[in-house]
Symmetry: C2
Subunit: 239 residues, 2 copies
Amino acid sequence: MSQNLYDEPEFFEGYSQLARSQGGLDEAPEWPIVRTFLPEMSGLKVLDLGCGFGAFDRWAIDQGAESVLAIDLSEKMLAEARSRTSTEHIEYIRGDLTELDAIPANFDLVYSALALHYAPDIQRVFVDIRKHLVLGGRLVVTVEHPIFTAPSNPEWTDRPAWPLDNYALEGRRITNWISEGVVKYHRTIATYVNSLIATGFSLKELVEWTPSEEDIERHPDWEIEVHRPMFLLLGADAT
Amino acid sequence: MSQNLYDEPEFFEGYSQLARSQGGLDEAPEWPIVRTFLPEMSGLKVLDLGCGFGAFDRWAIDQGAESVLAIDLSEKMLAEARSRTSTEHIEYIRGDLTELDAIPANFDLVYSALALHYAPDIQRVFVDIRKHLVLGGRLVVTVEHPIFTAPSNPEWTDRPAWPLDNYALEGRRITNWISEGVVKYHRTIATYVNSLIATGFSLKELVEWTPSEEDIERHPDWEIEVHRPMFLLLGADAT
């Protein structure tokens, strides 16, 4: 069972204040690229792993998806997602992303945004996801980038530079983000990519998100992010 | 035309002293992994881009390859390679890795070790390579890892940490390695991977080389390399 920090009051309150929590997809800087990884949504059966407040799920139905099964470990997140949702084509259920056995299969699209860096064993997760996808189905995953998750001391130096260390040392990282003691799992890009390939996927897109010049014009404080990719975005087809 | 620094006396002399120049494949720390990316060599037609002293080419013939066409920009490297080679199944020719039009096609394997970070336009190189491979043929490439090539000040900090900056800013990097003013081209992992996919390859292996515990036992001074991958190794099939 993954750490359920999103149900802790302090964390939930902090998370709720994030731009992406309040503004949804339009406030997620990586969304314009992620959207290009998605197939034509019309008629698709979608599984969302780590749905949060459900912004993606409502977008999917708006785009014509047939149904969305949206899973999250946090009761509070699910309650908020349900309160924001009017369509009956989205089912929100509580579940651990690393235990999908009880979930039905035959999805056309599995989507997971900024959740799988909480899973200790990514290859096991990809095996499970593959079982839930039809042949040729699509997987779209975003995670914190390995360069972002690796360091023992993840604070910009004066230069500024990102003090990368322990890149090859995969495993738990405890960081202070919103609240203290947040447990994430660092692994290399190679582990993400090879785990996909080993579990029956063909990699189609890999993006290391950093801000574009346009992004920086609108958000000058993002300029520092050109030095270090913050998100890893993956698109793959089930083979 | 790429910079031909290997024909500069100071650089050539320094390069010739490297363990990998003197000892060949067994002195290249990444070789045991690269070898696992290679197909059964028996009967293959092989193209080697950036052959250096020809260690790989002689190994390929020893393993039963039918022929090797080995290209390098440096006359001095080629002269040394020829002097070390007795078989007639290897043809060493002078050429720029970014201008392959005059080279015959239909190779089963294209191999390039630590050379393509000198090429300014990797997608163009992969287009050329794809033209020279049979359908289902294999490409094995090693380059300096993007984390290694990115920084404006590529020196360990005291901690030690690797001061990563400018990761998203692709293009020329001028470093002092063996001699001063060595021009390399930094690009992201995403650019390597997506360029492969866009030019007709299916990515099969991606390794970010760092030393194993066994490596560190034999070479204690390599321990620092767990903090930052030095080489990116790619294996892909022509589709």
